[in-house]
Symmetry: C2
DNA sequence: CAAGATCCGTTTACGTAGTAAACGGGAGGG
DNA sequence: CCCTCCCGTTTACTACGTAAACGGATCTTG
């Protein structure tokens, strides 16, 4: 009987979350506050207890400080969340340890898009409770499409594709298709990941009455229930990404052959 | 100079939202309460003022009643939101007027998937502020993937594909790819739609200092800014959907030719 | 028709949220 | 030594979700 998330091969985007460096019994040491410390604390808190549990008072307490102290560094809760999103997204650019996602230098646009996709997926899996925030917070400009939430990122995306021969229209169409793909796949993957843990901390009485809705009326669901519960997210992500790249390659080749006229994805 | 959302042809999924039937000056008549009236009121309220503005007290007031009256029909706010999602999703199944999305009877699985996709898209565009709720609320079972949030729907999906010759694995892979596609595209489309209105009701002082971030450092963004602001959502949706169907068709054909062995999307 | 019982919206009240405003103590500079 | 920032605390206010008690219709039953 296969449980979720375990295939034989390891998922390279799935990295163990590192423990805090200095927390001993739950109290942190009372060194001076700092916007960056606050943001880091907020990310940690959301990772640990979920987004809904993050309140100014509790975040303050987790940093060993009263809630109002936070307001000297952060205008309010909303801006705090914006800061959290920004901070987590910027994880992409820091060359943490010997990992391979160094967005700027790349071998061809396909390699770039694959690196980028796995970089974002790694972020999503490292912070499942933060990702919905990345996905749904209103972006700076309307054409900044989550989860690619930084001007620098979009600039680099468009630059890479146009340098590779994409027309402006085609590059933008690719950008839209790519962001839709990432958002859909990762949001669903992360949601299911969160659902598993939230099912665990809700034992909910009878383990025999656990199967709340009986599926006798739904033969296809009943027959395929084990298959439906299998988690193939990594493989599906890879496959869909490959398909998208193939599609973009087709667009590029067509545009090259047919000379000048515009031919975007639509 | 093209503004967003306006192409020459009309978007068939975009229907004008009908006005309330009985509201005159903002006060509703004080007839008896009712779970369905509450849910309808909640949907209307979210459509009108956004999800964040929905509170029990305000919803009560909009129905001409105190907040606590709602608790006789709804266990609490969370369940109210669940009810809202359920109600809006069920819109799919009602044959409202002479529209063509009658999910059950169909001509081939491609036709079914296209009808379904446009049906969901219609819902998303009719209730842009509700859709994020549809997308992110924890589903009944972990394998119910938003935005296809009903057992009946998933059952019908799997039944249609398996009847058409898909193996169980292939049908489920198709279900996953399809839901990811829908979620990504529609969530982004709806987000941008909400951003436009929220930019309008925030005139924000100087119209000359409106361009908050200057793009001199981002030449690709600067050059393609008008293109980026163009809204081609409908065409892109159609194109990506077509591509997905092609892909599924390939899977089906392969499986037919190569006899029995399993070949899912991954 | 009288007398509960039941239904349903209101009132009151409590705990927790975000945050404005006043406060206070310690560090550094004149 | 005193003044003045700096920075975290205290206090206080409003709005939220919701538990609990309340009260007037309306219905049921003898």
């Amino acid at each position: 009987m296969p449980t979720a998330t375990s295939d034989d091969d390891r998922d390279p985007d799935l990295v163990a979350v590192k423990e805090g460096t200095e927390v001993a019994g739950g109290m942190t040491r009372p060194v001076g506050l700092d916007r960056d410390r606050i943001l880091r604390g907020a990310v940690d808190y959301i990772d640990a207890h979920g987004l809904a549990a993050l309140t100014m008072r509790r975040l303050g307490a987790s940093l060993g400080v009263e809630a109002m102290a936070l307001y000297r560094y952060v205008p309010g809760r909303e801006d705090l969340l914006d800061g959290v999103v920004e901070r987590v997204v910027e994880t992409l650019f820091v060359k943490d340890d010997g990992d391979d996602l160094y967005i700027e230098e790349h071998n061809g646009w396909q390699d770039y898009l694959m690196r980028l996709a796995h970089g974002i997926r790694r972020i999503a899996l490292a912070h499942p409770s933060v990702f919905p925030l990345i996905a749904s917070r209103p972006p700076a400009a309307p054409w900044v499409r989550p989860p690619l939430r930084s001007l620098r990122l979009v600039e680099s995306f468009l630059g890479t594709l146009t340098e590779a021969g994409f027309s402006d229209q085609a590059a933008i169409a690719a950008y839209r298709a790519y962001s839709s793909f990432l958002l859909g796949h990762l949001l669903l993957e992360v949601t299911q990941l969160g659902a598993q843990v939230s099912l665990l901390d809700q034992p909910e009485g009878d383990p025999e009455a656990q199967r709340k809705t009986d599926l006798t009326l739904f033969p296809n669901l009943q027959r395929t229930e084990q298959l439906l519960s299998l988690d193939k997210s990594a493989a599906e992500f890879e496959d869909a990404l490959e398909n998208l790249l193939d599609r973009l390659e087709g667009v590029l080749r067509e545009a090259r052959n047919s000379g000048g006229e515009v031919e975007d994805l639509a």
